[in-house]
């Protein structure tokens, strides 16, 4: 009994840490609709800056806590800089485009932190006066954890006062509900957004600074926390601070007690909770459905016509060039070209549901991975050749899409994206943990193509034919009646229903179709690499797909193709040539985002139309 009580206190302490970071994210999203991928980086910066400050100070409680506060304010200012220099310029870009910009920031911060603070983990000093433990129910419990338990509710209370008792808070709440209306009433949105960013970043920095006395400060902190924080925000209901508190509490307590029953569950527990909550409550625990449907779809999306003649010509030339590449290019160029062809199909499949379908996914790698694992597992357990694996991969991935799609398509926007992420993480942990079948993180090796396709040139041409064919098929589907219905469902679900379209079923079909095509890409990738690993369905792969689509331009059909080629080509070049390639990559992404807010292909299209 005593043990359960102590474990409950442990859960409370973790909940407070999580809540601080998540509350910042939810406030930022509520007002600006920016999915701030760099929130974990702000948290990490908070920890590093606080560590630097308090290590220099004499051990005095007043100085210590002032140092923590100063660090949080500095992080808040970093947030302001990000908002003013970067995000402010792209608020009018298509939904989720800001994600791309904040991802660039993540990469830059990672390398900057490595450069300033070095590669080794840093353990900060403990908080003066709170070094020891107190006896609770016969167990020793650290004093600092007790302080953390108190900080969470205190911050919640302060935020509540700020939002309900000040004019600024009223404006923020109004903007959360309907920012167009607030703007129409003459409120200067720019400063409102900037100040909200300051508060959000400050809270993230505070969350990080409070970890210094508790845990080591490492270069992995940013990505280790970001997924969990997203989950807390979504489970609580995006934009709801009390919701974030409740969700942090729920998830932390599930962890504290879950490890006693299933010690290996920590990998997936968070995402299981999110999946259950979103299936039962599509807008999170305390979230509300968006009051204005106009906020949902990209209403500015233009109708899609057949490709102009020049574009067809460019496409044909590119394809012809790709086909005659082998004798001209070296062996390595073929390896790269093979990967690029596969990624084009992967990006195109995501674009199919994300662009015309309006169904953004943060977990598209799951279907890529299911396809890859389908081929590999068939080979490992049944000795199936590549041909059979390739034939069954889209079936397996499509079936996974059917199952997940059933739950997912009823949701909207970021909630939908996060539910796809939850299912992707569940699939990932299955691949990671079910060692007997999947080989765990050591993966499945020896997944090479059949003898006739083992030659690099042959395999490349084979991949090129399949990927070009599939990508064109997806394009064709967008122009088919099904594609029209899908776009109708995206742009105005109510009217679509009114003219007799079954919106949910159309979306469901689109989701399954996109999954099946991703599965083909995954299987081709597996045979190209000769091995399959859980990283194929991990979050970074999903993020890659998302970045490719956004970089190319979500509103054009050529976007994913251009985006995949640009993204992968860029990364490959930078990794080989530049040692600090992450910072370089991040800066290039930021530059591209600022130069082409419609994506690269979108920019070209707009230029052409303006010249007419």
């Amino acid at each position: 009994m005593e043990f359960l009580a102590i474990q409950f206190l442990n859960g409370l302490a973790s909940a407070s840490s999580l809540f601080l970071v998540a509350s910042g994210l939810t406030i930022i999203f509520g007002v600006t609709r920016v999915v701030n991928f760099a929130h974990g980086s702000l948290y990490m910066l908070g920890a590093y800056i606080a560590l630097t400050i308090v290590s220099q100070l004499p051990r005095d409680p007043w100085l210590y806590w002032s140092g923590i506060l100063v660090a949080s304010v500095v992080v808040g200012l970093v947030g302001v800089a990000i908002e003013m220099l970067l995000l402010r310029r792209i608020y009018h870009a298509p939904e989720l485009f800001q994600l791309l910009a904040t991802f660039g920031v993540v990469l830059v911060v990672e390398d900057v932190a490595l450069w300033i603070w070095g590669p080794e983990d840093r353990l900060g000093p403990r908080a003066p006066g709170l070094r020891g433990a107190v006896e609770i129910l016969g167990q020793r419990f650290p004093q600092y954890e007790l302080l953390l338990i108190a900080i969470g509710p205190v911050v919640l209370l302060l935020l509540w006062l700020l939002f309900t008792r000040t004019r600024w808070g009223t404006l923020v709440r109004a903007a959360t509900q309907d920012r167009e209306m607030v703007a129409a009433l003459g409120v200067d949105q720019r400063w409102l957004f900037t100040s909200v960013f300051f508060l959000g970043a400050f809270l993230a920095g505070l969350g990080g600074a409070l970890q210094v006395a508790r845990a080591p400060t490492t270069l992995h902190m940013d990505l280790d926390i970001i997924a969990e924080v997203f989950v807390v925000t979504v489970v609580g209901g995006m934009g709801s601070v009390p919701g974030a508190f409740l969700a942090a509490l729920l998830i932390s307590q599930m962890h504290a007690f879950g490890i006693m029953v299933f010690p290996k569950i920590t990998l997936v527990l968070t995402f299981l909770v999110m999946a259950v909550v979103l299936v039962v409550r599509p807008y999170g625990l305390l979230g509300r459905p968006p009051t204005h449907p106009r906020a949902a779809g990209p209403a500015r999306a233009q109708p899609i016509g057949p490709a102009p003649r020049e574009l067809r010509l460019v496409g044909l030339v590119a394809l012809a060039a790709a086909a005659i590449l082998p004798p001209l290019a070296g062996e390595y160029a073929l390896i790269m070209a093979t990967e690029m062809a596969i990624l084009v199909l992967f990006a195109a499949s995501l674009h199919f549901m994300m662009g015309p379908g309006g169904l953004a996914s943060f977990g598209h790698a799951a279907y890529f991975g299911v396809g890859a694992y389908a081929g590999a597992l068939l080979m490992k357990h049944f000795g199936a050749p590549m041909e059979l694996g390739l034939a069954l991969a889209p079936v397996a991935a499509g079936l996974a899409g059917v199952v997940v799609g059933f739950f997912v398509v009823r949701l909207e926007g970021v909630y939908l994206a996060m539910l796809t992420l939850a299912f992707a993480q569940i699939a990932w942990s299955a691949a990671f943990q079910w060692v007997e079948v999947t080989g765990g993180d050591n993966g499945i090796l020896g997944v090479w193509p059949s003898a006739w396709a083992r030659d690099r040139t042959v395999y490349y041409l084979f991949v090129l034919a399949i990927c070009a064919g599939c990508t064109l098929a997806l394009r064709h589907a967008i122009h088919s009646p099904f594609g029209y219905a899908l776009r109708a469902a995206r742009d105005n679900p109510l009217r679509a229903e009114a003219i007799g379209l079954d919106v949910a079923r159309i979306r469901w079909a689109a989701f399954a179709l996109a999954s099946a095509f991703a599965g083909i890409a995954g299987a081709l990738f597996a045979y190209a690499k000769g091995s399959v690993f859980p990283t194929y369905l991990a979050i970074p792969k999903s993020v890659d797909a998302l970045l490719m689509v956004l970089l190319g331009g979500i509103e054009t059909l050529s976007g994913p193709i251009v985006g995949a080629l640009a993204f992968h080509g860029l990364q490959e070049q930078l990794v080989r040539v530049v040692e600090h390639w992450r910072a370089a990559m991040g800066l290039v992404i930021v530059a591209l985002v600022l130069a082409f807010p419609q994506g690269i292909a979108g920019y070209v299209r707009d230029r052409r139309e303006r010249m007419r």
Binding site: M260, V435, G443, F525, V575
Partner: protein, 404 residues
């Protein structure tokens, strides 16, 4: 700090940029392709690259191998096996390297090993600890330097069998390394000391340990002793919570890798005392070879060597020894030269062999107890555990590794 980083970067840039411009004719340089998770695991791999570069510089200063210089082309796989495979292809096809080396994560090592086998090229794995690399998935073209998970678990199981502890708890990161370390330790300890029981097992996700809850859950099972496999940030977190909550008081703790400076130094004055660990007491090893290595390293980088430095250094030293023995860079000849190859490690504890039987080197590790001296952790009462003594019998190895 800045000095060290700058030197490291300069060396790396020189190696990466200058290398391709050098002519590749008869008697041209011998090129080694090195793939590692530099951005994902900088704490281990920055010193590793220093050690690597030091050995390359020493070999070239001594006139190279068979009159040919050595060059390295470094690649960063960012912790992704699929990228490592791509770079392996690139290094062979575009950079024309003569052999592959590197690898930190086990799955990256396995991916490169399988690629090497498929393409019939030599791969000298430096760091990946997975037993599968030389046993379950072992192949003709892959050799591994570091003592494997099995070997290090066996060293600690031997020590654990000596103490009077019946109830054991295990805490281990939830991935292949952690799972197999736990499995081997249990198996070997039960064999050496029937009657021990394992009363709690915690498998926190790598890098995301919920330390307070984990410590409490172990405490609840009232173990006599603890076997720890966590390292890096998880370890630091676990130790801080465990110290505050008194988990380690009057309990025997055996801990994998904790004596390595990479993981021990960040603990500073909170390094626990009296744990039995595997590691590297860099400041105390006084063999002639190690003294020379330590001095050269400190002079060159203005920093002390970590275990990663030794691994990087020894990998190159063994490759050089292999090249001397094979006399050329033809793959099959190099593979034959690797089998049974003997070389002198920076540890200086006698010759180390790459066993012909399973391609595992007999490099050992230091086993000792942790202690605090001058406000930081160190190892005391340590001894060198020769890797050759901590491997299963040849017959058992033959059943573990595909033969033929």
């Amino acid at each position: 700090m800045t000095m060290k980083r700058r030197t490291m970067m300069k060396a790396a840039t020189l190696a990466a940029v200058a290398a391709p411009s050098i002519a590749r004719g008869q008697g041209a340089a011998i090129r080694i392709g090195e793939i590692n998770s530099y951005t994902a695991q900088p704490a281990f791999l920055a010193p590793y690259r220093n050690g690597w570069n030091l050995a390359i510089e020493e070999a070239n200063a001594a006139g190279g191998v068979n009159g040919r210089r050595l060059e390295t082309v470094f690649r960063d796989d960012a912790g992704k096996p699929e990228d490592a495979v791509r770079f392996a292809g690139e290094l062979l096809a575009a950079e024309k390297v003569d052999l592959l080396s590197g690898g930190f994560l086990s799955n990256v090592g396995l991916a490169i090993a399988d690629f090497a086998n498929q393409n019939k090229r030599l791969y000298v794995a430096s760091e990946p600890l997975s037993d599968a690399l030389v046993w379950g998935r072992g192949n003709r073209y892959t050799f591994r330097l570091r003592p494997s998970t099995y070997m290090q678990a066996a060293m600690l199981a031997e020590e654990a069998a000596k103490v009077d502890a019946k109830r054991w708890a295990i805490v281990s990161p939830n991935y292949e390394y952690g799972q197999s370390a736990a499995k081997w330790f249990k198996e070997l300890l039960v064999r050496a000391k029937p009657g021990v029981e394992f009363v709690a097992e915690q498998f926190p996700a790598l890098g995301r340990i919920d330390a307070g809850a984990t410590v409490q859950a172990i405490e609840q099972s009232r173990p006599d002793a603890i076997f720890n496999v966590t390292f890096g940030g998880d370890l630091t977190n676990f130790v801080r919570q465990g110290n505050t909550r008194g988990l380690f008081e009057k309990r025997f703790v055996a801990s994998m890798l904790t004596g390595e400076p990479e993981y021990m130094d960040p603990l500073k004055d909170e390094c626990p005392e009296g744990w039995v660990v595997t590691g590297y007491p860099w400041d105390q090893i006084q063999t002639a070879n190690h003294r020379r290595f330590r001095e050269a390293y400190q002079k060159r980088f203005n920093d002390y060597p970590r275990l990663g430095s030794v691994v990087g250094y020894d990998t190159v030293v063994s490759i050089v020894a292999m090249l001397r023995k094979s006399g050329g860079t033809e793959t099959e000849k190099m593979v034959d030269a690797m089998k049974g190859l003997s070389f002198e490690s920076a540890f200086g504890e006698g010759p180390v062999l790459y066993r012909a039987l399973d391609h595992q080197s007999t490099l050992g590790a230091y086993v000792g107890r942790t202690a605090l001296k001058g406000g930081k952790g160190t190892m005391v009462g340590w001894r060198y555990a020769d890797g050759a003594k901590y491997l299963p019998s040849d017959d058992v190895v033959r059943t573990l590794r595909p033969q033929g």
